[in-house]
């Protein structure tokens, strides 16, 4: 048996390849990015010609993966948790169409918001869509579950959600690999109307989805990952899931044998097992990474059963990720801290790289906007969001992918002038283009600055769909040529760039300023690899 050292993300990618994957679809997003990156750089991926190109956004990725499944082959789509919001339409309806080839949706949650704007829990989406959900607690389980998830998907003709969190996605461990399975052959759905969600068809399919979801509770591949182990204690039983199990085990060590423990790693969760453990113990402590999904279900509205402790009664903090200390306190074990951090240690927030084009663009923007006062700049998701921090303090919003353009439109509708959006190139093609069309159609007085560094920078420099296409896209959408300006954000062009920005702020229609300079990180990497190839 081969053992390799892999990140949780990479374990999922390796498992998908080993399980006969034909298509991987994704848009970069921390902490999910390394799944696609691993497949792109793997030999098996290229030998087997697995589809492994980035998609424009999570929705297009989700739908393309569903198309691969329609054609009978195994497909996977991966995204960060908020990406599932973007993909939600396709995701939820894919539960109703069902699948042909096995289809796995990986959603990587980011509790504590290390690199995100919220900490939503993807398990809600599983229940919302009536889609089975696997939640691995370690890298080996992540690897093994992908095989089972494909099997469940094909057996029940349902998409399957795999939910991971940051600490699993970005933690390495050694994994035992299985033998590689063959890829599936092209085969169309037996029922030609399976994917046609006309109301009359959708109603029937929805009924069968509801009953299939209930029967999943008894699916052996799901129950295999939900284990109850009794212990001698009767005063406290533990229900734990995903990565929370590791922190529990870390704290109790070998005395785990004293505790009745129900470990839940697959959903819909097993009611019988929950009734079993709650019937044995006076109190139950629920440890889950993310939202109190299981806890709320067990408490229900009446909350009149046995004493339940968890995130809802303050035993565990309501928000933020878990760690060994939080779990220790919840069990009632002491935590021994080392020395305190000396007071001279200062915060070191992330910042623009030295020589970053975004920074030069913001310097020009800040000067050009000065006469109008503050509060005019809507921004978006990417490295350039760092302009919210000192010394720039240059942006007033960061909400979701593409919202800079559309919020600028709405604010200008309300009378704000000038109303300015700053969006990156990759975010623009992800979700900014449709907003720009809205602006063009009603000729909103907005200035859209596309800060184009020709890459998806924040996630580490993945290919941007926008590269080499932004001007054409804007012209195609209908931006007037004379108000489609291209500038190079360099210090030497500062005065000229300030002038151009001021001109376009004053124009009472849609203008787009493309501030174009390659990301300093990808430029360095590119030069290094060009040198080594010489």
């Amino acid at each position: 048996m081969k053992r390799v050292l892999l990140l949780g993300d990479e374990a999922i990618a390796q498992a998908a390849l080993d399980a006969g994957l034909s298509g991987m679809y994704a848009y970069p997003g921390t902490p999910s990015t390394e799944i696609m990156e691993f497949i792109q750089s793997s030999k098996v991926g290229s030998d087997r010609n697995v589809h492994r190109e980035w998609s424009s956004n999570e929705k297009t990725a989700m739908e393309a993966a569903l198309g691969m499944s329609y054609a009978g082959k195994r497909a996977m789509v991966a995204m960060k948790h908020v990406g599932l919001n973007v993909a939600a339409d396709g995701f939820i309806n894919s539960a109703i169409t069902g699948v042909n080839g096995g289809l796995i949706i990986v959603s990587a949650d980011d509790p504590s918001m290390h690199s995100s704007q919220n900490e939503q829990d993807s398990r809600f989406y599983g229940k919302f869509a009536f889609v089975p959900c696997f939640e691995p607690s370690n890298q080996q389980e992540a690897y093994d579950m992908v095989f089972d998830a494909f099997e469940v998907s094909e057996k029940y003709m349902m998409p399957v959600l795999v939910r991971i969190t940051t600490r699993l996605a970005h933690s390495r461990a050694s994994i035992n690999l299985r033998a590689t399975l063959p890829q599936k052959k092209l085969s169309l759905p037996v029922d030609p109307l399976q994917f046609v969600l006309l109301p009359a068809i959708a109603r029937k399919k929805y009924k069968s989805l509801l009953s299939a979801y209930e029967s999943l509770r008894y699916e052996s591949l799901i129950t295999k990952y939900n284990n109850f182990k009794d212990g001698s204690k009767r005063d406290l039983g533990i229900i734990t899931c995903g990565i929370a199990y590791n922190y529990f085990l870390e704290n109790v060590g070998e005395s785990i044998s004293d505790f009745p423990v129900l470990k839940i790693s697959a959903y819909p969760f097993p009611k019988e097992l929950i009734k079993d453990i709650t019937g044995r113990c006076k109190e139950i402590l629920i440890l889950e990474e993310g939202a109190p999904v299981i806890e709320e279900a067990i408490r229900g509205i009446l909350d009149d059963g046995i004493k339940i402790r968890g995130r809802l009664d303050g035993t565990v903090p309501r928000d933020g990720e878990l760690n060994p200390a939080i779990v220790a306190k919840a069990i009632g074990l002491p935590v021994s801290y080392g020395k305190a951090v000396p007071s001279l240690v200062k915060m070191r927030p992330p910042s623009f790289c030295i020589g970053c084009g975004h920074a030069d663009m913001f310097n020009s923007l800040t000067e050009a906007i000065k006469p109008y006062g503050s509060g005019h700049v809507f921004s978006d998701i990417g490295c350039y969001t760092l302009a919210a921090l000192p010394p720039f303090n240059a942006i007033n919003s960061c909400v979701d992918m593409g919202a800079s353009v559309t919020m600028a439109i709405g604010a200008s509708d309300a009378g704000l002038f000038p109303s300015i959006a700053v969006i990156g190139d990759s975010t623009f093609t992800h979700s900014g283009m449709t907003g720009l069309l809205d602006a063009v159609v009603k000729n909103s007085p907005v200035t859209i600055i596309i800060s184009d560094n020709s890459t998806t920078g924040m996630t580490g420099g993945q290919k941007s769909q926008a590269t080499g296409r932004i001007e054409q896209i804007c012209e195609g959408i209908g931006v007037k040529r004379e108000h489609l300006r291209v500038i190079v954000p360099l210090r030497k062009n500062h005065a000229e760039n300030v002038c151009i920005l001021k001109e376009e702020f004053e124009y009472r229609g849609v203008s787009v300023v493309i501030a174009s300079r390659e990301c300093i990180q990808t430029a360095t990497k590119r030069k290094r690899s060009e040198n080594s190839n010489e």
């Binding site: 690199s115 461990a173 927030p349 623009f352």
Partner: protein
């Protein structure tokens, strides 16, 4: 029972993940259990980054090291070495580079930082950048630090050397040799 809980500290872009990868490869070669948690994403843009690295001859549960349990802090930046003191055990060692990475306006005085580091019973402060330069590769300061910390990691020095051969092998023989030289130069600075 063998157990090494190591915190690697630095600033995004300083190469702590290469240190982690070297130790990780050595651990696998030594048939040890391993978990290594890293920071990807936003913080890598010049923010503080850390990696929790846990080696053991028994399976490792938590991906994160509990407070007060780290045996070793390896830091490529002096102020960053102090950020993780709540994790360091009483008997733990702190090995750090003396060269500050200043990308914030309120960076404290280096003398004050070094004074705080010297309050830790088991500490080693080295000029990793200077030693790396002498070894012929200014960019291998991270391997110098690893060399200095190596006596406190319960694996043979040879297995770390082999890990470096594997890690940098793809980038050519010269890259392997400069990094090995940096590792050995760092090892010589160690007090043990």
């Amino acid at each position: 029972m063998m157990k090494n809980d190591i915190i690697l500290a630095g600033v995004g872009g300083q190469g702590i993940l290469s240190i982690a990868a070297a130790i990780g490869l050595a651990a696998v070669a030594n048939d040890l259990f391993l978990k290594q948690s890293e920071v990807h994403g936003m913080s890598q843009r010049g923010g503080d980054v850390q990696s929790h690295l846990r080696l053991s001859d028994k399976p490792v549960s938590s991906d994160l090291i509990p407070y007060g349990k780290a045996d070793l802090i390896i830091s490529v930046e002096p102020m960053e070495s102090l950020r993780y003191l709540p994790w360091l055990s009483d008997k733990g060692w702190l090995v750090t580079n003396s060269n500050p990475f200043i990308n914030i306006p309120d960076y404290p005085s280096l003398d004050e930082i070094l004074k705080e580091i010297k309050k830790i019973k088991n500490h080693i402060i080295i000029d990793a950048d200077g030693i790396a330069k002498e070894a012929g590769s200014a960019r291998s300061g991270n391997m110098v630090i690893l060399g200095t910390a190596s006596p406190y990691i319960d694996m043979s020095f040879e297995s770390l050397e082999n890990a470096i051969r594997k890690l940098f092998g793809r980038k050519g023989n010269q890259m392997v040799e400069t990094n090995l030289k940096a590792l050995r130069a760092g090892r010589e600075c160690s007090v043990k």
